[in-house]
Amino acid sequence: MSHEYVPEIATDREGNEYEVQGWQGDFYAGKLGFWLFMLTEVMMFGAMFLALAYYNTLHPQDFLDASASLNRVLGGTNTVILLISALTMGLGFLKMRTGDVKGAKLMIWATILLAIIFLVIKGFEWRAEYNHGIFLLHDQLLPESSLPFGQKLFFGLYFTMTGLHGVHIIIGIGLMLWLLQRINADKVTPEHHIFHLNIALYWDIVHLIWVFVFPYYYMIGAGGATGGH
């Protein structure tokens, strides 16, 4: 099955049709623009890491204790899932570039499936924490609870950052579904694949953020005398 690129068409009031000259036809600008967008993502999460690091210096022991109480098995499983999803996304893009559109679509579906599994595991993890009284504006994180203040800061940032990361995963699933629709409509083809590249880059930045989120939250208290679950 051939995949001839179908250009975007704009129609004026008289019914004349024009081919839209957009980012699909300007590979380098499309890529550069997306890298700039990714830098804004780095700045957003970077600001959160900065806050995390600052509070860590104020409450080092509380942070180690809180980190030790997180479920490293679930966090580690999600790390491996994201790692494999980055591979499937990359291979999908490679297949698209080499003309294997069907294989590319299969790889995108595999990535979507892995992203859903990631969210389900995250959901179980959050539910377990909620059941232990640890959740935003709930039980132990309320100002009047006896949980050390540093741990409240740690868990507050933990839910904020992993939550924001989860939102990025959900957006990523939406983008991949959109990409599949664009491929089916022959708007993304082996010759016009900048949209696919940018969504693959988006998925990589989501993975990249997790590469730092995971050790900072789950692992810093792993070797402490306090132990963990």
């Binding site: 700039l36 780095v42 050390p148 203040f149 993975h207 590469v211």
Partner: protein
């Protein structure tokens, strides 16, 4: 990125090699607190993360060989570093409202009480 010059097998091999490297680094992440640099787990974990990030950016995000994008990324990263680390660092180092801040005031209180609330009570 020219579709005509792609060596599929070669590029796929790179993807799998990077995957194996990332899996090994993830395994090291888990054993590090019990194996090496046990006194500075935070530093060790962040170093491993930086190596993983390097592999992802260079090979999965194809920054390796991007002659035009790399300088732009370095320039933007340097700007971010200057503002995030140096400017904010100076500001935080000269923080004038410690006594009025809920967080820093609590930190001073917590630091004084750290020995009276042993970590072993937390599971």
């Amino acid at each position: 990125m020219d579709t005509k010059t792609i060596n599929y097998q070669e590029e796929r091999k790179v993807y799998y090699k990077v995957l194996v490297a990332l899996l090994i680094l993830t395994a090291i992440t888990f054993i590090q607190p019990h194996l090496f640099m046990t006194g500075s787990t935070f530093l060790a974990q962040m170093l491993i993360a930086v190596v993983k990030a390097y592999l992802i950016v260079m090979y999965y995000m194809h920054l390796k060989g991007e002659k035009l994008i790399i300088p732009m990324v370095w320039f933007a990263m340097s700007l971010v570093t200057v503002f995030f680390i140096i400017v904010i660092g100076i500001d935080v180092a000269n923080f004038q409202f410690g006594a009025e801040s809920h967080i820093t005031a609590a930190a001073e209180h917590s630091a004084g009480a750290v020995h009276t609330t042993p970590a072993s009570t937390h599971h």
